[in-house]
Symmetry: C2
Subunit: 84 residues, 2 copies
């Protein structure tokens, strides 16, 4: 059965985020004040076909560890929903 998967890939706390720092530095010049701690991550969405939710989660966790993230510097949060 199909599952809708969302994966949030974010840099671990303490890992430098130059992309976020650049956004944060640029905002005041555009008139946006009071913004702090900008962090930029990736958002992946896909469907996966598996026999049940546990199997889907196991496959996605393995994909994250081996391919979708760099586990040394990134954390992944996996959200799985059954599709009708």
């Amino acid at each position: 059965m199909p599952f809708a998967v969302t994966v949030h890939v974010e840099l671990r706390p303490g890992i430098a985020d130059p992309q976020g720092a650049t956004i944060e530095r640029s905002l005041p010049a555009l008139g946006f004040g009071g913004v702090e701690g900008v962090r930029v991550g990736k958002l992946l969405r896909f469907t996966v076909d598996a026999i049940d939710e546990a199997a889907a989660r196991a496959e996605v966790d393995d994909m994250c560890a081996r391919f979708l993230t760099n586990p040394v510097i990134e954390d992944a949060t996996v959200i799985i929903e059954a599709l009708p």
Copy 2:
């Protein structure tokens, strides 16, 4: 008061996603089957200081439209939570 903001930036439906297509093509060679429709977006997190949630949302919506996204090809979803 401070608000924690999460912004999901995703390509609009129908816009080609070469990064997602590349991931999708690579997965079978790594032993991951049954994955379809891979779409890659951005996940931004930051804190914003505003007088209330409506003001925070207005500032973030304006940031998204003018700076954080390309409204022609991307959709933004804004999640705002009050911080203690």
